[in-house]
């Protein structure tokens, strides 16, 4: 189906260009806090959320293991490159070699995770990936040779020169994260148009039919999981540099749920939702944390909980879904209660254009 240059598409492209221009000149106009703690974090958290949305929108798999893979990359990097940290192995590898090693390790483990989970569906897939995510957290909490609760600090001092000192010059990591976020977005848009991506969407919609046509469904799912793991590992490496500390609390159950909340707020149906959700989540976390909700008290978890509920009730396909509905005259695509399945089926990029 060819959509052509509809008014919606033109507006979306215009908004995209304006946003890109804005973020490109951002460091010149914004405070260091906004550059580092809001936008850089948005880019890297968005990458992790994009890995989740990619699996959800095009593979029909809502994975709760992405946080663990994100963490594995960060912990691997921290162990490989540091030399004098108070935790970890301090192997002192070359920074670029460490980055490559971290991504390879995380992607390989993602493939193993994918192989374990690829034959299950729905709630069972969710539970298996939740278990894998929690195992990731406890592994790094308990194995003090690789982390322990205090984690591994001073990773930033062993970052490649392109990242540099992110305290003194946060804009360098900002641009690295921006470029990687954009690259992840473009790659996902490309992949879903390749034969592999189209087969993946076929498997998402009709796995039995695809199997009968000769497609190896578990292998496709496993490869998709591996690709999503690769994206998540990029986010993990960026996080390690950005936070300058990898500790298990970064991938605990709270973090697992937070990544899902980011994806749901942004919209599980469209990749752009990953960064929109991350931006909204981080803004709320930073600026409305002291709001007191009458009777229930206050703080960030209460506020984000209400927003999450509102999103699920009003627009199950997130902020991007809300946007789509504006253009479809207020009609909701799909039935709201079945967020996981219907949102995926309603994804605009679900079919090749």
């Amino acid at each position: 189906m060819t959509k052509g240059w509809t008014a919606k598409r033109i507006v979306e492209r215009c908004v995209g260009v304006v946003v890109l221009v804005f973020v490109a000149i951002g460091p010149a106009a914004l405070t260091d806090y906004w550059v580092s703690s809001i936008l850089t974090q948005t880019f890297l958290l968005g990458i992790a959320a994009a890995s989740l949305i990619f699996l959800s929108a095009y593979g029909g798999m809502i994975s709760l293991a992405q946080t663990a893979i994100f963490g594995i990359a960060g912990f691997a990097l921290a162990n490989l490159v540091t030399t004098d940290a108070t935790g970890g192995q301090n192997l002192g590898w070359n920074p670029w070699l460490g980055v490559a090693g971290a991504i390879v390790i995380a992607t390989a483990i993602a493939l193993v995770f994918g192989a374990l989970a690829s034959r299950s569906l729905g709630i069972y897939f969710l539970m298996i990936t939740l278990a894998l995510g929690v195992i990731g957290f406890y592994f790094f909490l308990q194995v003090d040779k690789l982390s322990g609760r205090a984690g591994i600090p001073t990773i930033r001092a062993h970052a490649p020169s392109i990242v540099g000192d992110t305290s003194a010059a946060p804009e360098r990591l900002y641009y690295v994260a921006l470029v990687l976020a954009f690259a992840v977005y473009v790659v996902i848009r490309y992949v879903v148009r390749t034969p592999f991506g189209i087969a993946l969407q076929g498997i998402r919609d009709e796995p039995v039919r695809m199997a009968s046509l000769g497609y190896n469904v578990p292998v496709h799912r496993m490869l998709a999981f591996g690709l999503a793991g690769f994206f998540a590992s990029l986010g993990g490496v960026l996080y390690a540099w950005w936070n300058d500390l990898m500790d298990p609390a970064a991938i605990d159950l709270n973090a697992i749920v937070s990544l899902l909340v980011v994806a749901v707020i942004g919209g599980l149906g469209r990749i752009e939702g990953a960064w929109l959700g991350a931006f909204a989540f981080i803004l709320i976390n930073n600026y409305v944390r002291d709001i007191e909700v009458p009777v229930l008290g206050g703080s960030f978890p209460t506020v984000i909980g209400f927003i999450f509920l509102a999103i699920v009730l009003v627009s199950p396909d997130g902020l991007m879904g809300l946007w789509d509905r504006v253009w479809s005259g207020g009609r909701r695509r799909g039935d709201p209660p079945e967020v996981a399945v219907d949102v995926q089926r309603s994804a605009p990029e679900a079919s090749p254009s």
Partner: protein
């Protein structure tokens, strides 16, 4: 539903809103030189969340006493203060951080306080792993100043050694000075087991006992580690040797976990024998004394750098000042005393330099007092800006029908290295370190008895 114009206005509106928020964020950090921006990082969640108000209160009480501030609410310190000046600059509390023991949240809160809210000087954090994270953050942010709250991990100052991080309290090992000698000499232990929280403070606190007990010739036959915070300790206490197979236990389970861990032990092995258990500071503080004291009369404990009930002139004078501003808090509690001291030290340093923080705070660091004649004894900072201070082992006693705890000894000027046992080259306390070995400590056989709150020098 007619949505035509919204199609175009929505993205425009979002962009404008985003720009407005970004701009307000940028404006929010513009500095005013007539103010000194102070941040306080405590914990309002997790095992130590109950000490949140107390620590904020201690800092603000010191500002009230020495810098002319005034509490807005004497019952609720987090309501803030009014007035007050440090070296002529108006005190502005930019925010109160809320940690939960984890380094991830401590770092996030530190970033919020120091970068988003523009803090210049931060007092905190509370807990061991948080301290390590904040000290590393301090190292990466050399134009800000950090004064430790109560975090007591050894590596925070012995390994990280950030030049802008000052700790006016002992670490967990220093606080336990005296416990090894008490176990070996008074209680006759030769073989002990230790149960400890599985993080840097737990390790450091345990290290103090291990180093001293082993220095005398004792052996540690079992080390059990429990995650913190936790609620079910049954599987961990089952890993301990039974009471008839061991001379005693050293207990390092903290915060809200102390009571449940002791309860799990009694369910597994029967009532605890007070002669077969020594606790660290967690046995006595955070309200644990109410639950534990009735079953542990006579049991010894490590201190918290404070001398509860000490009757020296300095202690009495400190109590009088410290309770003036927030009378509900116990000034003998380390969660108060150890936060009061750095705030007090800051007031003297800022007055000395007339509030001049130019040149990257270097004048402030030079002016921070190296000797503080504090309520419970002299505090001297070593070359890593780590306190050398008097330590006071304590004991549960029954007095006039009531059960309380009292100081039983004074160990003057305990340093972080334990007379060379720990150094920047020795491994940081961990599940395996320190090893148990016979050694010589500076205070062996030199514990000064304290009777009725008076040191018998």
């Amino acid at each position: 539903m007619k949505v035509g114009k919204w199609k175009f206005l929505l993205p425009l509106g979002l962009l404008v809103a985003g720009s407005a928020v970004a701009t307000s964020g940028a404006l929010a950090t513009s500095a005013q030189s007539s103010e000194v921006k102070i941040a306080i990082l405590s914990e309002c969640k997790g095992a130590f969340g109950g000490a949140y108000e107390e620590q904020i209160g201690a800092v603000q009480a010191a500002f009230s006493q020495y810098a002319g501030a005034k509490p807005k609410n004497k019952k609720k310190p987090s309501a803030g203060i009014t007035g007050g000046a440090l070296g002529g600059k108006t005190i502005k509390i930019v925010g109160y951080g809320c940690g939960d023991e984890t380094p991830a949240l401590a770092l996030k809160e530190t970033r919020r306080l120091m970068e988003q809210l523009g803090g210049e000087i931060m007092i905190g954090p509370l807990s061991g792993d948080e301290g390590v994270a904040v000290a590393n953050y301090a190292k990466a942010h050399p134009k800000q100043t950090f004064l430790n709250g109560t975090s007591g991990g050894q590596q925070t100052t012995l390994k990280v050694r950030a030049k802008n991080f000052f700790r006016y309290n002992g670490d967990g090992a220093q606080w336990n000075a005296g416990t090894g000698e008490i176990a070996y000499k008074r209680l006759g232990w030769r073989n002990a087991a230790i149960i400890m929280d599985d993080y840097s403070f737990g390790y450091t606190s345990g290290a103090g006992f291990i180093a001293e007990f082993c220095a005398w010739g004792g052996k540690i036959s079992k080390r059990v580690f429990v995650p913190s915070p936790n609620t079910d300790y049954s599987s961990y206490v089952q890993q301990l040797p039974a009471p008839d197979k061991i001379d005693g236990y050293f207990w390092v389970v903290g915060g809200s976990g102390t009571g449940p861990s002791v309860k799990a032990f009694t369910q597994a092995f029967g009532p605890m024998d007070p002669k077969k258990v020594i606790g660290n500071l967690f046995f006595a503080f955070l309200g644990n004394d109410k639950e534990l004291a009735p079953q542990l009369v006579g049991a010894y404990m490590g201190g918290f750098g404070t001398g509860p009930g000490l009757q020296t002139p300095a202690a009495k004078a400190y109590r009088k000042l410290a309770t003036k501003w927030y009378p509900d808090f116990n000034p003998d509690d380390g969660f108060y005393y150890n936060w009061w001291n750095p705030a007090w030290a800051l007031t003297t340093a800022m007055d000395k330099i007339n509030g001049d923080l130019s040149g990257g705070h270097q004048k402030l660091w030079a002016a921070m007092p190296r000797v503080l004649n504090a309520g419970f004894g002299k505090i001297v900072l070593d070359k890593n800006r780590q306190a050398i201070q008097d330590q006071y082992p304590i004991r549960y006693v029954k007095k006039g029908g009531a059960i309380t705890f009292e100081v039983i000894g004074l160990i003057p000027q305990v340093d972080q290295t334990f007379g060379g046992q720990f150094s920047e080259k020795t491994p940081s306390p961990s599940r395996a370190a320190p090893a148990c070995k016979k050694a010589k400590l500076p205070w062996m056989n030199k514990i000064i008895p304290v009777k009725n709150g008076v040191p018998q020098r």
